[in-house]
């Protein structure tokens, strides 16, 4: 267990500067956008109404500000998502490729190889949830900055839920409902496991492994998403299934997909990968 924690720590350290970079970029863009847009709005109102600051004249909240400038607030979040998607593959390939042969060392460590898989998975989850936490904190900071810039006469208070809803992408990433949150992140973890497994399958049967990995990735996309999309085709209604039965089928398929991905990945790591 101690070795697993050390491996997780090691993986996090290797990505830390990039992670800090993503965090800094997100913070910088969103804070700068809030300052610039809030100042613009204030200037516009002050020039329009002069010193005639009557209460609640054309008021706005930070929610409105974020809604009006969706793309600016979403841009760094999108960059973070794409970076993490790429890193889900790079986290394995960086050990194989390049001048070093670090994968030799990792595979030879006196710990079960499954620890490598778990450490990389845990590191990825830590990155994802660190960025999410930062985004949550940033929403509060943005709200504070907006309140500081915008005179109270022009300002509406926003609830935290409104802040989250202010940007469609952020609202998607931070669903208020715990059930939806579990659903999204459960699916995300299964897809992450599938990405790991596809990488390890490719590393196991070179050069034909690329075909195997692509076939596996296709199956992992078609089957679990097919179960969800089948609902739209009316298949379940024609089979006479109730909604809770459909949900359980989907949950079962996704859980099975995750379990198979983890099993296949760890098996490849134990028996088939080659340096």
């Amino acid at each position: 267990m101690k070795a697993l924690l050390k491996l997780i720590h090691f993986e996090v350290r290797r990505f830390r500067w990039f992670l800090f970079g993503l965090m800094a970029l997100t913070a910088l863009v969103q804070i700068a956008a809030t300052v610039i847009f809030a100042l613009d709005e204030r200037t516009a109102r002050l020039s329009l109404y002069g010193q005639d600051l009557k209460p609640m004249r054309d008021p706005m909240s930070v929610y409105h500000l974020m809604t009006r400038h969706q793309e600016i607030y979403a841009l760094p979040v999108m960059i973070c998502i794409v970076s993490l998607l790429i890193y889900a593959f790079v986290i394995w390939y960086r050990d194989w490729l390049g001048r070093g042969t670090f994968i030799y060392r990792l595979l030879m460590l006196p710990q079960p190889r499954a620890y490598l898989y778990l450490a990389k998975l845990a590191a990825m989850l830590l990155f994802i949830f660190s960025l999410l936490s930062l985004q949550l904190a940033l929403l509060l900071v943005i709200e504070g900055i907006f309140s500081a810039i915008m005179p109270a006469e022009f300002r509406l208070e926003a609830r935290f839920a409104d802040l989250v809803a202010g940007n469609e992408l952020i609202a998607f990433l931070l669903p208020i409902s715990p059930k939806v949150f579990l659903q999204y992140y459960g699916m995300g973890i299964v897809l992450l496991l599938a990405a790991f497994t596809a990488s390890l399958l490719e590393r196991s049967r070179r050069p034909a492994g690329i075909v195997l990995a692509l076939a596996y990735a296709a199956a992992m996309l078609v089957i679990p998403f097919g179960v969800i999309l089948a609902g739209a085709t009316g298949l379940y209604e024609s089979l006479g299934l109730y909604i809770h039965e459909i949900i359980w089928i989907a949950v079962g398929v996704w859980l099975a997909g995750g379990a198979i991905a983890a099993w296949l990945g760890i098996r490849a790591l134990n028996k088939n990968v080659s340096v």
Partner: protein, 241 residues
């Protein structure tokens, strides 16, 4: 003893190993020789579980460790790491890592197998500092540091893959000196090298690979005494008949 029995490995259409058998005994330095592509490095990697083989057996002190027969379940990685140290042809560490961090990494993960004192002695022997990044090291310095990482592991067996590859004369001499020190005392060593002359006088046994099989195995000292032939002479006979 490391026993390699009937090892088979195919890469695409080429049968690289086609029933290779030999043993590495404790206290002896065994040289695995062959032309380029003969499968020498593959055998070393297979012993460490870094390359799966298609058939055959790899027993380390009596315990089966071949991936296709055992996988890496349970404590096998631990067992192997306690028995065998592998020194590949390049340091198996990220190039961005400093030597100090690499030593700390080894101490952290290898625990009781890692001998920090020996590592410090070897760093001093090779006159290596600890602050440089591995990616910035010259080939010679990287080879020396690589040796430190491998030999400071207290294992009964050591595998060395081309320790002299692409390095200058003085670094080669410094590395060859390691064989004369006590750091390899009592350990079973399996070495692959094209620079046979550097270590010829230190090698106890030679295994010559040709066409996927062991073409000849001999005791180098006996060969010298009985037939007055060096290892290179025998290699010429085998590879240039």
């Amino acid at each position: 003893m490391i026993e390699i029995l009937n090892l088979r490995k195919r890469f695409f259409r080429k049968q690289v190993l086609d029933g290779v058998s030999f043993a590495v005994e404790p206290g002896l330095i065994t040289c695995l020789a062959g032309l380029n592509g003969a499968g020498k490095s593959t055998i070393l990697k297979a012993i460490m579980g870094l390359v799966p083989v298609d058939g055959g057996s790899i027993r380390i002190d009596g315990r089966e460790t071949a991936l296709h027969l055992t996988g890496n379940r349970g404590q096998l990685n631990r067992y192997r790491a306690h028995k065998v140290a592998f020194i590949p042809d390049r340091p198996a560490m990220p190039p961005s890592m400093k030597m100090r961090d690499a030593l700390r990494f080894m101490a952290d993960f290898y625990g009781d197998v890692w001998n920090g004192e020996k590592a410090r002695d070897m760093m001093a022997f090779f006159e290596l500092g600890e602050d440089e990044r591995l990616g910035n090291l010259s080939k010679g310095t990287a080879a020396k540091f690589n040796l430190v990482l491998g030999l400071a592991l207290e294992t009964p067996y050591v595998l060395m893959d081309e320790p002299f590859s692409g390095i200058d004369l003085f670094s080669r001499e410094a590395i060859a000196d390691v064989f004369s020190t006590g750091w390899l005392e009592g350990r079973g060593v399996l070495i692959t090298t094209h620079e046979i002359r550097e270590v010829e006088h230190l090698i106890d046994r030679v295994v010559l690979l040709k066409d996927g099989v062991v073409a000849k195995t001999f005791d180098s000292e006996e060969m010298r005494l009985a037939e007055n032939k060096s290892i290179v002479d025998v290699m010429r006979e085998v590879y240039r008949p």
